[in-house]
Symmetry: C2
Amino acid sequence: MATIQPRTLQGFRDFLPDAMLARESIMDGARAVFRSFGFRPIDTPALEYLDILTGKGGEETDRQLYRFEDHGGRQVGMRFDLTVPLARYVAQHIGKLGVPFKRYHLGTVWRGERAQRGRYREFMQCDFDTIGTSSLVADAEIVIVIHELLRAIDVGPFVIRVNNRKVLGGILARHGIESDAASVLRALDKLPKIGHQGVAAELHDQVGLSSAQSDAILEFAERSGTPDTILSQLAGQVRDSELACQGLEELEQVVHAARAGGVPADRLELDLSIARGLDYYTGTIYETFLVDLPAIGSICSGGRYDDLAGLYTRESLPGVGASLGLDRLLAALEELGRLQTRPTPTQLLVAYFDPHHLHDYLQLATAVRRRGIAVEVYPEPKKLKAQLKYADRQHIPWVLIAGEREFAEGKCQVKELATGESHLLPWTPEGRELAEFLTDRLAGEARS
Amino acid sequence: MATIQPRTLQGFRDFLPDAMLARESIMDGARAVFRSFGFRPIDTPALEYLDILTGKGGEETDRQLYRFEDHGGRQVGMRFDLTVPLARYVAQHIGKLGVPFKRYHLGTVWRGERAQRGRYREFMQCDFDTIGTSSLVADAEIVIVIHELLRAIDVGPFVIRVNNRKVLGGILARHGIESDAASVLRALDKLPKIGHQGVAAELHDQVGLSSAQSDAILEFAERSGTPDTILSQLAGQVRDSELACQGLEELEQVVHAARAGGVPADRLELDLSIARGLDYYTGTIYETFLVDLPAIGSICSGGRYDDLAGLYTRESLPGVGASLGLDRLLAALEELGRLQTRPTPTQLLVAYFDPHHLHDYLQLATAVRRRGIAVEVYPEPKKLKAQLKYADRQHIPWVLIAGEREFAEGKCQVKELATGESHLLPWTPEGRELAEFLTDRLAGEARS
């Protein structure tokens, strides 16, 4: 019989165990941090009625939607983000959930994007939001969560940049260019990529601003320094815009509250040029960059919105949240050499050395496993060399070898593959000495 | 503007936080157990080329497949189980993975089933398999994994039932009814539901067995007792069937090795009537029942197969594995009152009591959180009564209250909602006393 060629669709990925262990480790870490703040997990279906999804993310998103007719003749689509399902979810369940409603959601989403390097049609989002409160405490908490999250994942030095849409909104209004706000913001978002000259050209040629207007906006957006310096410099400049003043006041509160919540001064910056989510965010905006790899872009972004679920309910639900870019973060950590990948969770391979002692091996493996060590028993009594080769290939750090001689002496050999050193330990069915020895050595390795 | 009615598709579910916390807790536990045996996580895409999926699970599965044409005109389908993707995956990657290859995979699958109570069109599977070895050590290990898994999840008393397809295969052959094997096995699988008389009638009327044949088969399948008793009784009876003898020998090895690996005698039974996966399993077969709720069916099932990936590669890949039925298990635990659901992970709510002390609250929350307690700061300075009501509704066990008086004294009040009792503790920005107090109390609760 002819075989079917095993292959995956373009833009879709198989995860091999080393990649998957790294993903699981970050997801576990993220869940633990979200829970430590009282964010509550939810999940929603992969498939939704098409009318729930279309028209929510703009024309491009509509085009990218995986859509079809199901068995019951219903028009359905696969979720393309976790925000639209969240809006539908809270509209449906907010009575049961109550407010403030803090939720996290780790889920797969699908977008039929044009295939290109580094762009996937299936990827994971890790969102967290606080719904149903306008309090800036929630805005500050998002900064604190991002900080704890990236500390826990151990990403190396990073900077969280905050802005507030009202500041730039007020400035634009003062210069009489509020009707062009979207195009101005879109141009400003390109600052890191095309630089001052490029943005100035775009503001002039495409948006139609005068040189004076363009200069004023750019001077504003490019301001840098500590949050306190910028805030005090600006306070005078925006005096005549109520909206900008309000934005500054909000930024100040968020920055100070975040610092109180343990975010060090050098990890939190104001950046008046960030303007993501053009039609969506209404207050605080967040982006997060790795100091050693800023070019990969923001790894955790979000902001405040006035009305999450207006399409599905008349109840007004303001909220604030952010999303960790898991795939981008993994790519960055890999590039920085900070990703500790290993092909298996196994810490000790018990060699199947002497068939008469299989039951001893199985007994010991269970005992040591229950003491917190990941133990694998090789399933076949192959030559020791083949079993060691397997351990080596899987990067299993320790191998236990016990044959007739060791059993006669009540001992076992524990071999460290990295050094080739062997240690002779007492063999007891409870495996206490062995487990303690390995716990100690493995903790030492993790530290070094 | 008219709003869109927020709703989910029939057969699909939103998970509210309490249900999701229970799911996450079981999935976390399962992953930890799988890793402790050296099973390695993988993931595969939700969407596959249609020809990878069709014809692999029988006509019914083909009918239930969610399928459509994607943006590039490709015929695609959503995965309906994790076994077919695994077969495709190992065929594609086995050179990189090596054998034995032990993997686990927690993933969502989709089936457009006829909607009925308790049947979902989207559900989660938790599979674990060892690929590339015929050794019975791997078969025994599956029993040991099931045992550790259900111990870890704390499901209450359970029994793992094992069988071997070769035993019944040999018996059928001896009675000259091997060509009817599939229909006989299908009838025997109904023993728990329709009983002896029902199965006898089906074997006679539908399969066309003689009364003598039907009696012999049923006497065989209904045998019960300890594995050792059954094995010794049968040894004499199957002497003239080499296949049945081999099956018995295999069962004996699996049972003894599983016991060596810590599975107590009373949790492991032989059941010669179980015959799942008619065209698929070739050796050991597993089912697992909760002693207090057997009627809900097997919560963890699987078996050995000779050739996993024959449709995609000419390399012969035998394997053995099982699958934890997460949705069924959760339903069972809920029915048994063993599911500890709570709406939030928060253990301490810091009341936003005095706006002048917001920064103190945020500082303390971070400190206590870093000491392992899940802490939420209420985001608005509402009346204390409203904040306590929120805590009560979310089943948050402890609330911290500190206002001018407490700050003047360097203290804080910690209120236990279940008893109404308040405790006065020293307030320190490091939160050590508070964290130690709560850790102690929460551990006490978990024990009681």
